[in-house]
C-alpha cells in the first residue's frame, strides 16, 4: 500500500523546486524547472508497481522567454501558497487558488487552466499528490452502492460509520475528494466484486433491477472520466479487501481510455499511477466483439473517434494483443455502441442476460 507524503516531506520536495531556480541564478544562468515529458511517448510499464509511469524523458522549462519565466514565477507563488496552507492546516480548491492569484501581481494566472496545469506540474516534479498540497479539485467523486461499510471523518473530526446499502438513499454514498486513510477507513463488506459503471443511466438501471443484491457486488458510478478520488477508492477497496474489479463502459475509444486510466494509469497523472491505478481491473464491456455478438444498435465512428483509436494503437498501455484486436475490430466495423443500447432487448436484458454472460466468462457469476 502506498501512502501520501508527510507535511515535512512535501515542503522539502517543494523547496527542491525552488532551490533549482535559486541555484541557477547564483550560477549566473537562467532559472529552470525540470519536469518529465507528459505524453504517451514517455510512459512505460513499471514492473515493480504494475502500473504505467513516466519514463526518463525530461523537459526543462527555462526563463529565457516571457511565457515560461512567468510560469516559473507562478510556480514560486504556488509553492509559497501551499506552504502557507500546510503550516496553517488549511486547504483550498484549485478555483480558489486561481482567484487568490489575483493578488500575486506578475505571478497572477490568466486562466484557471493555467493554475490547474501548474498544480499538476508541481505534483509531477515533487512526486507529491495535490492532496499533500491541500488543493482540492472542483469535481466531486463518484457514487457507490452495495453492502460495504466504511467510516468517514466528518467536518467535526468525528468518525461516521456508513453502510453503502443500508445508510444511503437511492443516490448512494458520495465519495469525497480526499479518500486517504486520515479521512476514510474501509471496515467490512459482504460482496464478491466491484463493478465500475460509466453512465448514470446504467448505474440507476442496475440498482432498480436489484443487481447488486442478486450478484453480491458493489456498484460505482464513474461519471465519465473518473475523478482521482474515484480511482483512488477503487484501488483501495480492491487492494485492502482483495476484491476483483470489473469495468462496464460504453463501447467507444473514449471508454477504452477511461479503462486505461483506471487499470494502468492516466497519461496526465502517470506520476502518481501507483496511487490511482488498479492493475487487476478487467474490461467487461461493451467490447467491439459485443457489438457484433449482441447485434447492438451502433453509431458510425466520427473522424475524431477514428483518430483516437489509431492513437491508441500506438499507446503502450494498449499494446496487448487483446486490446489491439478490440481496437482493430472497432476500426473495421466503423461502429461504436452505448451501454444503454442493450435496452434494444428490453429493460432487464442487461441484468438478466448480458451481465451474467459476461461475468460468467470471468467466473464471477
Amino acid at each position: 500500500m502506498v501512502q501520501g507524503h508527510t507535511k515535512e516531506d512535501t515542503k522539502d520536495a517543494l523547496h527542491d523546486v525552488v532551490t533549482e531556480m535559486y541555484d541557477k541564478i547564483v550560477k549566473g544562468e537562467a532559472p529552470t524547472m525540470t519536469l518529465p515529458v507528459r505524453t504517451k511517448n514517455n510512459i512505460g510499464f513499471d514492473e515493480r508497481l504494475g502500473v504505467y509511469k513516466y519514463g526518463q524523458k525530461r523537459s526543462v522549462r527555462d526563463a529565457t522567454s516571457l511565457g515560461s519565466a512567468k510560469q516559473l514565477l507562478r510556480a514560486l507563488y504556488v509553492v509559497e501558497f501551499i506552504e502557507g496552507m500546510i503550516n496553517e492546516g488549511k486547504s483550498s480548491t484549485l478555483r480558489e487558488m486561481y482567484y487568490i492569484s489575483e493578488s500575486w501581481g506578475l505571478g497572477k494566472f490568466s486562466t484557471q487552466n493555467e493554475s490547474n496545469n501548474l498544480a499538476e506540474d508541481l505534483e509531477v516534479v515533487t512526486k507529491c499528490m495535490r492532496e499533500d498540497f491541500k488543493l482540492r479539485p472542483e469535481e466531486d467523486g463518484a457514487r457507490m452502492i452495495g453492502n460495504l461499510t466504511l467510516q468517514e471523518r466528518n467536518r467535526r473530526g468525528e468518525w461516521m460509520r456508513i453502510n453503502a446499502r443500508d445508510d444511503v438513499g437511492d443516490s448512494g454514498y458520495g465519495v469525497p475528494y480526499n479518500v486517504e486513510e486520515e479521512k476514510i477507513e474501509l471496515l467490512e463488506h459482504d460482496i464478491n466484486f466491484l463493478m465500475a459503471i460509466e453512465t448514470g443511466g446504467m448505474f440507476d438501471r442496475l440498482i432498480e433491477n436489484g443487481f447488486d443484491e442478486t450478484y453480491g457486488c458493489g456498484l460505482i458510478h464513474l461519471k465519465g472520466q473518473p475523478a482521482r478520488s474515484t480511482r483512488r477508492i477503487i484501488k483501495r477497496m480492491s487492494e485492502e479487501w482483495d476484491l476483483p474489479v470489473v469495468v462496464f463502459l460504453d463501447g467507444d475509444p473514449w471508454s477504452f481510455r477511461i479503462f486505461a486510466s483506471i487499470a494502468y494509469g492516466a497519461i496526465k497523472t502517470a506520476h502518481i499511477s501507483e496511487y490511482l491505478a488498479t492493475p487487476s481491473a478487467t474490461y467487461l464491456g461493451i467490447t467491439a466483439d459485443d457489438i457484433v455478438a449482441y447485434d447492438l444498435p451502433a453509431d458510425d465512428l466520427s473522424s475524431k473517434d477514428e483518430e483516437a483509436l489509431k492513437a491508441e494503437l500506438s499507446d503502450p498501455r494498449f499494446a496487448t494483443s487483446w486490446w489491439q484486436d478490440q481496437i482493430n475490430t472497432m476500426l473495421e466495423l466503423g461502429k461504436k455502441a452505448e451501454q444503454q443500447s442493450l435496452a434494444k432487448y428490453g429493460l432487464d436484458f442487461v441484468t438478466d442476460t448480458y451481465l451474467p454472460e459476461k461475468l460468467g466468462e470471468l467466473g464471477l457469476a
Binding site: H15, E29, L72, Y77, E80, G107
Partner: protein, 685 residues
C-alpha cells in the same frame, strides 16, 4: 476635352436648357435625391476652393443644410466662403450662365473639369422647387455686399434677377465680412450618412485640401469641423501649351490654319510645349517640311507627316525625335507631408505613409500620382480598406469598382505587405485606408458621370509603383511593431520577472537575494536599443530618447545614428550627447565603450514641428555585434543621400527638365520630407 462642355454648347441652340438638363441629369450628377444634394454641395465648395486659390486666400468654408419640408424632401443649402467675392456685375454670369469661365479651354490642372458648375445648382433648385438662389457677395474694395436672387430663363438660357440690392454683411460676432460669397438655395434632396454622403464628400475634400478649414452643419444641427493643418496654399498652377504627344490631326490642322507665324520653326516653338529650337528643326526634318514653310499654307500630307513624327512613328536617323517633357508646374500635387497631415486629421490612427511620385507624362499630358496609406487600431480589421479616390483634389465617390485608381490597388498583392486579401486580388481587408490622388491637366474618365478614371497604362504604372512603395512602408512598420513587441517582452522578462523570481525564491528558502547580472546577460545575450519619440504638449517640441543596453558578457563600442526631419525645418535642441551631422537628416553619436550590464541614453528635442509630424525615430548603428531595435547603417545609402544633397544644391526649380520622353524615362524619386518611413536602410528588407 470633348465632353459635356462641347456637347452642351452644341445642344444649346436646338433644345431648351431645362429639357437638356432633364435628359442629362445623370451625367450632371443630379440623378438621385441623395446624389443631387452632394453634387450641389460639391459645385459650391469647388467654386469656393478655386476662388480662394486664385485669390491666394486660405479658405474658410461653411456648409449648412436645413430641412425645409421633410415630407417633400426639400432641403436648404447654404454655403459661405471667405474668397475674394464676385463683383456685382459678374454675379449673373457666374450663377446664371452655363459654361462661364475660361478654365474649360486652359490646359492645366483644375477642379472645374468635373461637373456643370454652380449654374446647374441654380437650375436644379428652380426646376425642383421653383425658387430662386439667393446670392450675397462682398469684395474687399466695396463697403457693402451685393445681394440678388438669381433664377434662369430656361428658354433664353439667361439669368433672371430679382430683389437686387446692397446690404451691410454683418457677421454673428458683430464684425463685418471683408470678402466672400454666400449662396442660399432650396432644392429637392435627401441627406444621408455613409460612404456616399455630403459628410463623406466634405471629409474627403478636407483631406486633399489641408489648407482649408471646412465647417459642416448637418440637418440635425450637429457641427462637424475640419480645421486646416497647413498655411501653405496649393501652388499656383500655370496653363501650358499643348505637347506634341497629345495632339490630334484635326487640332494640328486648325492650329496651322489659324497661325500667323511666318515660319514652321517659329510656329512649333511658340505653340507647343516641350519643343526646343533644336527639336523644332529635327521635327521638320523628319517630316520633310521646309523650315521656312508658312504654317498657313502647309499641305494636308505635310500635316499628316508631322503628326507621325509627333507620335514617334516617323523617325529621324532611325530614332524618334527627342522632345522635352511638358513643364509640370501646371500640376499642383498635395505633397506627401500634407497628405499625411490631411489623413491624420480625419482618421485617428498610428501609422501613415505617403508617396508623391515625380510628375510623368501620358499622351503629352503631365500627370502626377500621389498615394497614402493610414493603418491602425481605430478602423475595422475585418472589412475592406477604405478607398479614398481623388482627381485634381476632387473626391470621387461613385463607381469605385470601375475606376483605374481602384484597379491599381487591386493589382497589388497586399498579403506580402501585411494586409488580408483573399487570393491576392481585389481590395484588401484590414484596419487601413488607402488614398490615391491623380493630378493631371487632362483627367480621363470612363463616362460623362466623371466618377471613375479611365484605364491608362502610364497612369496605372505610376500608381502601382506608388502602391508598392507605400506597401513596403507598411510592411516595414508592421515588422518593426512586431520586433518592438518582442523587445518589450524581453525587457519585461529581465526587468520584472527575473528579479521577482530571484526575490521570491530567496524568501521561500530564507536565503539572500542573489545577484542577477549573470542571469540577465545569459538570457538577453544581446545589445538592445530602445527609442521613444513623443510630442511634448508643454514645450511644443518632440522629445526623443534613445537608450542602448549592453546585455552581453563583453564590452561593446558603437556609433548610433538617428534620422530626424531636418529637411522639414526641424531643429535639434538640448542634444547633450553632442555628436555630429553625417548627412542631411542623419545625426551620429560615437559612444563610449559600454561595459556588460551598462546602459547609455541619448536625449534631445526637435523644435519647429507640429504634433504628429514626427512620431517615430529610426535608429541605426555602426559596430560589430547586432543591436536589437536598431538597423545596421547602410553606408551606401548614406552616400546616396550625400550625393543627392550635392545634386540638390545645384538644382534650379525649373519645371521642364531635359529628358528623353520616348520611351518614357524612369523618373528619379526625390528625397522629400515625410518620406522617413520609406527610407530603406537596414538589412530587414
Amino acid at each position: 476635352m470633348a465632353g459635356t462642355a462641347e456637347r452642351m454648347a452644341q445642344n444649346q441652340k436646338q433644345v431648351s436648357i431645362s429639357e437638356f438638363f432633364e435628359k442629362n441629369k445623370h451625367f450632371l450628377g443630379f440623378d438621385s435625391l441623395t446624389r443631387s444634394l452632394i453634387t450641389a454641395v460639391k459645385e459650391a465648395v469647388d467654386n469656393s476652393l478655386d476662388a480662394c486659390e486664385e485669390g491666394r486666400i486660405l479658405p474658410d468654408i461653411t456648409v449648412q443644410l436645413t430641412k425645409v419640408d421633410d415630407k417633400k424632401n426639400i432641403i436648404e443649402l447654404r454655403t459661405e466662403d471667405n474668397g475674394p467675392g464676385i463683383p456685382k456685375a459678374s454675379i449673373e454670369k457666374v450663377f446664371g450662365q452655363l459654361l462661364f469661365g475660361s478654365r474649360f479651354h486652359a490646359i492645366r490642372q483644375s477642379r472645374g473639369q468635373q461637373g456643370i458648375g454652380i449654374t446647374g445648382v441654380v437650375m436644379y433648385s428652380q426646376l425642383t422647387t421653383g425658387s430662386k438662389t439667393h446670392v450675397r457677395s462682398k469684395i474687399a474694395t466695396e463697403a457693402s455686399a451685393a445681394v440678388v436672387d438669381i433664377g434662369l430663363d430656361t428658354r433664353k438660357n439667361k439669368a433672371t434677377k430679382q430683389n437686387e440690392g446692397r446690404e451691410i454683411w454683418e457677421l454673428p460676432d458683430g464684425t463685418f465680412k471683408e470678402h466672400g460669397v454666400e449662396i442660399t438655395t432650396r432644392m429637392k434632396g435627401k441627406y444621408q450618412r455613409g460612404r456616399q454622403s455630403v459628410f463623406q464628400y466634405l471629409r474627403m475634400t478636407s483631406i486633399v485640401n489641408p489648407h482649408a478649414s471646412i465647417t459642416f452643419i448637418d440637418p440635425d444641427g450637429e457641427v462637424h469641423q475640419w480645421l486646416r493643418v497647413t498655411d501653405r496654399l496649393p501652388r499656383k498652377v500655370e496653363g501650358i501649351k499643348p505637347h506634341p504627344h497629345g495632339i490630334h490631326l484635326g487640332q494640328l490642322q486648325r492650329m496651322c490654319t489659324e497661325s500667323t507665324d511666318s515660319r514652321m520653326t517659329v510656329f512649333l516653338r511658340n505653340n507647343f510645349s516641350g519643343v526646343s529650337s533644336r527639336a523644332s528643326k529635327e521635327l521638320l526634318a523628319a517630316a520633310e517640311i521646309q523650315e521656312k514653310a508658312k504654317p498657313k499654307s502647309l499641305k494636308p500630307d505635310h500635316i499628316r507627316a508631322l503628326i507621325e513624327v509627333f507620335q514617334g512613328e516617323r523617325l529621324l536617323n532611325g530614332k524618334p525625335v527627342k522632345l522635352l517633357n511638358p513643364p509640370t508646374n501646371c500640376l499642383s500635387p498635395i505633397q506627401e507631408l500634407l497628405i499625411k497631415k490631411g489623413l491624420s486629421k480625419t482618421i485617428d490612427s498610428r501609422f501613415v505613409t505617403t508617396m508623391t511620385r515625380a510628375p510623368s507624362v501620358t499622351q503629352g499630358n503631365p500627370f502626377q500620382v500621389e498615394v497614402g496609406i493610414i493603418f491602425g487600431d481605430g478602423m475595422a480589421a475585418d472589412k475592406p480598406v477604405e478607398v479614398l479616390r481623388f482627381a485634381n483634389r476632387v473626391p470621387l465617390m461613385y463607381q469605385q469598382g470601375g475606376c483605374l485608381l481602384t484597379k491599381s490597388i487591386e493589382s497589388v498583392d497586399w498579403r506580402q505587405y501585411g494586409l488580408d486579401q483573399s487570393g491576392g486580388r481585389g481590395v484588401p481587408k484590414g484596419p487601413a485606408a488607402i488614398l490615391v490622388h491623380l493630378a493631371s491637366t487632362n483627367v480621363q474618365f470612363t463616362s460623362e458621370a466623371k466618377e471613375a478614371l479611365a484605364d491608362n497604362e502610364e497612369v496605372m504604372d505610376e500608381t502601382r509603383k506608388a502602391m508598392l512603395e507605400i506597401g513596403r512602408g507598411l510592411r516595414k512598420h508592421l515588422e518593426k511593431k512586431k520586433k518592438m513587441a518582442k523587445t518589450r517582452e524581453k525587457f519585461e522578462l529581465v526587468n520584472d520577472i527575473i528579479p521577482a523570481i530571484a526575490e521570491k525564491s530567496a524568501s521561500i528558502l530564507g536565503r539572500p537575494v542573489p545577484d542577477l547580472a549573470g542571469s540577465i546577460t545569459k538570457i538577453m545575450g544581446a545589445v538592445i536599443a530602445e527609442s521613444e519619440t513623443v510630442w511634448n504638449k508643454k514645450t511644443k517640441q518632440t522629445d526623443v530618447s534613445i537608450t542602448l543596453f549592453n546585455y552581453t558578457s563583453r564590452a561593446r563600442a558603437y556609433t548610433l545614428l538617428a534620422r530626424w526631419p531636418e529637411e522639414n525645418g526641424a531643429g535639434m535642441v538640448n542634444n547633450t550627447m553632442g555628436g555630429r551631422k553625417e548627412a542631411t537628416g542623419v545625426w551620429a553619436w560615437k559612444l563610449e565603450t559600454l561595459e556588460p550590464g551598462q546602459t547609455v541614453t541619448i536625449a534631445y528635442q526637435l523644435s519647429g514641428l507640429e504634433r504628429g509630424d514626427w512620431t517615430d525615430t529610426d535608429v541605426f548603428y555602426r559596430g560589430s555585434a547586432d543591436v536589437i531595435g536598431a538597423s545596421k547603417m547602410d553606408e551606401k545609402l548614406l552616400e546616396d543621400i550625400r550625393r543627392r544633397e550635392s545634386v540638390d544644391d545645384h538644382d534650379d526649380e525649373d519645371g521642364g527638365e531635359e529628358a528623353d520622353v520616348e520611351p518614357p524615362a524612369e523618373p528619379p524619386t526625390p528625397v522629400k520630407p515625410g518620406q522617413q518611413t520609406l527610407m530603406g536602410y537596414g538589412g530587414d528588407e
